[in-house]
């Protein structure tokens, strides 16, 4: 496959997994938690590097899951001790992120781990870091990891589809039915962390947040059905990734920045033109009902 092809495939895989996870994030009103986790996985990656002294995928994944779980446990713990949920998220993730940045600046040096790299990602290097696989041949390592993550996410979501649905829409009912709500919360947090770290290396922290939240929020404006929302959100993710890439190539600028911006355009279009919850359709419906246009 060509160089651009691998980049597009990588970004699309990110868009798909983030889009699917994002739907559950939006429905569970945990969008800012994703923002927090996408920052704290940095600490997990740095600590994993300091312990093992190598930047391999497996160690980084373990470190990142640990950091993600630590974040959600700490947030809950402070919240239980009277700190507002919002403020608690703010305290935990800025602190852990700052520790990560300081460790990079003082201990690791800029040789292997670069702070800027982790924020913006370096998708242009992806096609060169290859591994050999039986039957398939040589493919970029990131594509391999992202494919596995996508499969894990898909299996986890589809296998417990009904459970996710109930715990997201009506946690009280779920608890009264005997579903393990708390366990599912932490499983979900682990899924977010895994997705985040796999995408992190390819596209950087900020674009992960954009890909997790924005396509899902856009899909939320188009449909009321969960399955359709999953499909639309994944589709919007891929659409933003592909169009973002071509805009970046055209303007010769940061690819991940451009992809993040593309998700914003997709949302804006949905916000205005979605037939169900868009501004335009609401305005027309209002006119048809005989009222004045809302201000």
């Amino acid at each position: 496959m060509s160089y651009a092809g691998w980049i597009l495939l990588t970004a699309s895989l990110v868009g798909l997994s983030c889009g699917i996870i994002g739907v559950l994030l939006i429905l569970r009103r945990m969008a800012m938690m994703a923002d927090a986790i996408s920052h704290t996985v940095l600490l997990g990656i740095v600590v994993a590097y300091l312990v093992t002294r190598e930047l391999s995928g497996v160690h980084m994944l373990i470190g990142a899951i640990a950091a993600g779980l630590l974040t959600s446990v700490l947030v809950q713990w402070f919240h239980a001790r009277g700190v507002q949920q919002e403020a608690s998220i703010g305290v935990v993730f800025t602190t852990l992120f700052a520790i990560g940045v300081v460790l990079i600046a003082t201990k690791v040096g800029n040789a292997h781990l670069d702070v800027k790299h982790t924020l913006m990602g370096e998708i242009t290097f992806i096609p060169w870091e290859r591994i050999e696989l039986p039957f398939i041949g040589s493919i970029p390592e990131a594509v391999f990891i992202l494919s596995i993550v996508l499969i894990v996410v898909l299996v986890a979501v589809l296998a417990f589809y009904k459970e996710w649905k109930i715990t997201s829409f009506d946690p009280a009912l779920a608890a009264s039915l005997g579903l393990p709500v708390v366990l599912m919360h932490y499983v979900f947090m682990s899924l977010v962390s895994v997705t985040t770290v796999a995408a992190f290396d390819a596209v950087g922290a900020i674009m992960v947040v954009a890909m997790l939240i924005t396509p899902a929020a856009a899909a939320y404006l188009w449909t009321d059905r969960l399955l359709a929302m999953f499909a639309l959100s994944g589709g919007f993710g891929v659409l933003s990734a592909v169009s973002g890439y071509y805009v970046a190539a055209w303007l010769d600028t940061s690819i991940s920045g451009s992809m993040a911006f593309a998700t914003g355009i997709v949302f804006m279009v949905s916000f205005i033109a979605s037939p169900r919850h868009g501004l335009a359709s609401r305005w027309f419906r209002h006119r048809a009902a005989g009222g004045a246009a809302p201000g």
């Binding site: 939006i26 800027k116 939320y220 914003g264």
Partner: protein
């Protein structure tokens, strides 16, 4: 210690102290408006404005960049409000979107400027993680002046702020326009954020608003004392973080300021006089002891009859 520092470094230290105080005070207001994470979204949203300010000026011009930052942060705030009020997307999702999309745009513009040349030399990158050492005398004056202005605004109208935050209905009844108060609140919040981004950076600026306010909550139940303490904690973290970051070459300032603030937070969490863990533990112990005290059956019965 301060004798060993150059004259310029003393000024930088002073300005981060004032910045910390201003951020601590405003952070309390944001805490009670339950908008801690709003400050995070707004500080990220300031990045494109900084770069556009730089592009217009053609070189590093702090007033213009602060103006640009304020404009794009306010635009972000307006968009968040608009998305929340006219669609079914919730506020947290709207904040996450604005944060990441604006930051993405900022990175696009930054790459653009860096490629044009001159961008990386001008220290634009330092706006991401903060580099207090990159400030020249004029920047220091601009920053300290604006930070003092913020502190003044919160002191002068303290009673009005209190009313607006805790009893908006009553404030309205007294003739305090909540619309005006909201606009002033948002303007001052954005002002604190944009003056802090050179020293602390867009990513961690929110921490200076959030952490001191949460820490001061562990010491007192009085709003006045909370504001005072939070300002104090913010000022201490600003100064300590800047000092520590001068020990290493090229160390970013922002993360050290945040770690200083978090250290104060952990101390407050453990030993805070109002809701600290130690105090809670002692209270629980005393309660348990009073319950465990052996009582004769006779006395229990007497008590029951008496009650």
């Amino acid at each position: 210690m301060s004798l060993a520092l150059s004259h310029n470094a003393q000024w930088v230290l002073f300005s981060t102290l004032i910045l910390g105080v201003a951020a601590g005070v405003m952070g309390c207001f944001a805490y009670w408006k339950r908008q801690s994470l709003m400050s995070d979204a707004l500080s990220h949203a300031a990045l494109p404005g900084v770069i556009i300010g730089f592009m217009i000026a053609g070189s590093k011009n702090l007033p213009l960049m602060i103006g640009g930052a304020a404009a794009s942060a306010l635009l972000g705030a307006l968009l968040i409000g608009w998305i929340r009020s006219s669609s079914r997307v919730k506020e947290d999702a709207a904040m996450g979107m604005i944060l990441s999309v604006f930051f993405g745009l900022g990175i696009m513009l930054l790459t653009f400027v860096n490629r044009m040349g001159g961008g990386s030399q001008s220290g634009l990158d330092s706006f991401i993680f903060g580099q207090a050492a990159s400030m020249v005398r004029k920047d220091v004056f601009t920053m300290s002046g604006l930070a003092l202005l913020v502190v003044l605004i919160s002191i002068i109208a303290f009673k009005e702020w209190k009313l607006y935050l805790f009893d908006p209905q009553f404030a309205k009844g007294l003739g305090l326009s909540s619309r005006w108060m909201s606009s002033i609140y948002m303007t001052v919040l954005v002002l604190v954020i944009v003056i802090g981004i050179q020293a602390v950076g867009v990513i961690l600026m929110a921490a200076l608003l959030i952490i001191p306010a949460v820490s001061s909550r562990y010491w007192t139940n009085s709003f006045l004392w909370m504001v005072v303490l939070s300002g104090l904690f913010g000022g201490m973290s600003g100064m300590a973080g800047t000092l520590i970051s001068t020990f290493g070459k090229g160390w970013p300032t922002g993360p050290f300021i945040v770690i200083a603030a978090s250290t104060i937070f952990i101390v407050s969490l453990a030993f805070g006089a109002s809701k600290g863990l130690l105090v809670l533990l002692l209270q629980r112990y005393a309660q348990k002891k009073s319950l465990d005290r052996p009582m004769s059956t006779q006395r229990v019965l007497e008590r029951g009859e008496a009650g």
